[in-house]
Amino acid sequence: MSKSAVTIVAIALLSAGSAVASPAHVRVAGPLQAQPAAAAPATGSVKAGALVDVVARKGFWAQVRGGGGTGWLKLSRLSLDKGGGAGEIAALASGRMGTGNVVSASGGRGLDAADLTGATPDNAAVAALSSASESAAAQFAAAGNLKARSIAYLRAK
């Protein structure tokens, strides 16, 4: 299949949301849980290399069918580079499609490495950049019912 055909399939799958089952290979063997939480009871297990159908994604978890059952596992236990390609993407981008088109056909200048090298600096544009005050931002958060919470930074694993 050509690259553009893959893209078209991907768009179709993304548009259909997470209802579409898509194949993926299991990278790390282990249990399938009843809910997307490590503390949830196990409903079965999957072996490394097993082919499963991804039926949904929630947060950092994927719901899969295969290996004799249905259950949840962490996304990092799936092999995302290999396998169906377009298929598993449907399960990764949850929710509705973006506001625009995946394959951007709109015009305008690009921004690749060569464009940067040849660019004439626009200092006036930098000086004209807008900003928001901290109080306006706080008001905006309250209007969106966003509540700040205390969460510790993550360490690499």
């Binding site: 690259k3 893209t7 996304l75 580079d81 625009g100 807008s130 969106g144 969460i151 993550l154």
Partner: protein, 280 residues
């Protein structure tokens, strides 16, 4: 002291460190026993120097580097979107430690798919990326990653270290501030084209997830964004993004493995998710 640093660096460069010289590598070398006494001290001073530059310097340099990017891709003439992105960004920036930067956010009028941070607090998202985003949570995820780069001074530290090396190779630089500024701008522009190392990108992903979650957003929204990026072809619009970042799959894997129980509990769409529809 400055002269000693320059001399030591020049010596190190001559004795085999290549153009792709990394200070961290030298730091590791000093753990061995073969380096002459004193080199470790000098390297420590260099690190100290890189961290000691004032925020004013950082903002000034970052603005000059941003001017080159804005010269290549102008700010999108869509005041509603610019104002909206500034509010989302500024609210996220309230969640980080640094208070000495001038936060400014902008969407650039280019179909390229990318986002960038500059030392001192300018963060840009391209129109190509903005249009892919399906929720305010996804926009917050992208902006939080960039805010994390500024908060950790990722770009600024690389520029400072490379500046010292570049200056060590030049005979007459002392007191020539125009020349110094030019060197910093050139290094900054090159850094945008070349990208940070993967460690910094993974760190910005982990920090970004936390910063967005602290502000009340879905901690897993960056994974949704990665899903969208994964679906894009590698072409003129995505080449810079893909060449300067680890693959979306690797980033999903690293974020998922690092996620704590606290972060997982925050993987719920926010009440403000649909607000992005009002700013198009």
């Amino acid at each position: 002291m400055k002269a000693r640093i320059c001399l030591a660096l020049t010596a190190l460069l001559v004795t085999g460190a290549q153009a792709q010289f990394k200070l961290e590598d030298l730091g590791n070398l000093t753990k061995g026993k073969s380096l002459p006494a004193g080199v470790g001290d000098v390297l420590g001073k260099v690190q100290e120097y890189a961290g000691s530059q004032s925020a004013d310097d950082e903002v000034r340099s970052g603005d000059t580097i941003a001017a080159t990017v804005l010269g290549a891709a102008p700010v999108w003439r869509n005041p509603r979107v610019q104002s909206y992105v500034n509010l989302v960004g500024r609210n996220l920036a309230r969640q980080v430690e640094r208070k000495d930067v001038t936060w400014r956010f902008a969407v650039l009028d280019t179909p390229s798919v990318n986002a960038m941070a500059f030392p001192g607090g300018i963060v840009v998202v391209t129109r190509g990326l903005y249009r892919l985003l399906a929720s305010e949570d996804e926009l917050a995820a992208v902006l939080a990653h960039e805010i994390a780069h500024v908060n950790r001074k990722h770009q600024w530290k690389v520029i400072q270290k490379q500046k010292l090396i570049a200056m060590a190779g030049e005979a007459v630089t002392k007191g020539n501030s125009d020349r110094t500024a030019q060197v910093v701008t050139d290094l900054g522009t090159k850094l945008i084209a070349r990208g940070l190392d993967k460690t910094a990108e993974f760190e910005a992903d982990r920090d970004g997830v936390v910063i967005a979650a602290r502000a009340g957003y879905d901690s897993s929204a960056l994974i949704s964004v990665m899903g969208r990026l994964k679906a894009l072809p590698n072409n003129a619009d995505t080449s810079l993004l893909f060449s300067t970042h680890p693959s979306p799959s690797d980033r999903i894997e690293a974020m998922t493995e690092a996620a704590s129980a606290q972060v997982e509990a925050a993987a719920v769409p926010s009440a403000a998710a649909a607000r992005i529809k009002t700013a198009q």
